[in-house]
Symmetry: C2
Subunit: 218 residues, 2 copies
Amino acid sequence: MPPAAAFETNATKARPRGRPRKSQEERDDGNRRQALLRAAAKLFRRKGFAATTTRDIASAADMRSGSPFYHFKSKSALLYAVMEEGMTNALERQHEVLLHPDYAKLPPQDQLRQLIGVHFDVLLGPGNDFVPVMLYEWRSLTAIQRKAMRQLVQNYEGLWLPVLQALHDCEFLVAPVGIARLLLLGALNWSVQWYDPRKDASLNDLSDAAIQLFIKAQ
Amino acid sequence: MPPAAAFETNATKARPRGRPRKSQEERDDGNRRQALLRAAAKLFRRKGFAATTTRDIASAADMRSGSPFYHFKSKSALLYAVMEEGMTNALERQHEVLLHPDYAKLPPQDQLRQLIGVHFDVLLGPGNDFVPVMLYEWRSLTAIQRKAMRQLVQNYEGLWLPVLQALHDCEFLVAPVGIARLLLLGALNWSVQWYDPRKDASLNDLSDAAIQLFIKAQ
DNA sequence: CCTACCGATCGGTAGG
DNA sequence: CCTACCGATCGGTAGG
């Protein structure tokens, strides 16, 4: 069995193309899968993977208990799909930053500030439950899923190294680059546990504070 | 029903004092409860609370499936007991540091270094599964347990404020003290996710790197 | 995508 | 602390 089979969804081999929904308003199909993903992300984040039932998810997506398995072959495949969606989006958003024509002209501390801003938004922005699930549900992945996800995460973490190295070179960062990256991303990722948009500072102020804390310059 | 009832263990009202074990070697009783706590901490950390069965725990403590409920009234009470044990120990260890006669004479960056060192040890030291469970299983607590645990955590976090304020006063820390504490503790807490004693730096080197990263001085 | 269902497992308990 | 057990729930499936 090829590794990819572990993440297969039934929808790929049996998409009901061209069959219109019978509901009062004709919505485009295929958004049902998205609805499941969104519902799952929200519930996995709030209650955790093991404590969320497929019935919870079905209900949140306005389906009956058996229906999620029409779109995903297992609860586990649904978890993986949530995480993959989150990481793909996060990578895209950071690539937009890195490839922007002005980015290269910025001093490294401003480059880092941009990465941090996007990272906070991916973690804490409204409706962004996908990456938090990825961060906190590693344990629930199968070994083979974990291996595939590690690839995506390593790509993402790798994006941070050049700017951290540049900061190290001009002594705005003294700690070893590798450990600094682990501690820095940890500080950001942990915000998922405490950040409350109604009480805490804005994501911009948060990003500024992070720069102040980590970088030896103003 | 008084709040404390939620955390009650059966052992307190029915400790089999004076009744010797029937096994070949007479071990002191009461260590059975500790064995359960340790087994639960280890399993909760590795698999998560919801994915761990009380049968897993019983088996790891060399008991049969029903026996954990002789010592703890519910799986949930067992989780709370694990967390409480972890936080009590962490608070004790930090108090030892703070009350040491030499501590007050240290410059603030060295004071912080000491707190960080103990924190890493509480999180990453061998067999220290209790605090990691506390950090990553908040969701699994009942509302009433969460409230009680929040008290302990606030006590612990409060220990860090004076030294952070001192560092802020001498401009070794520029970020707002409140946010700095959240980010700093997040960086440390996240280490639970990646630290591998066989591959990564020693806890001492880790602590040094953290000081380098967070403090604007050497 | 729904209905109806199965087999397995799980937290917890009675009674000793 | 064990034995034997219960009621509920859960992931998943057949058949339409």
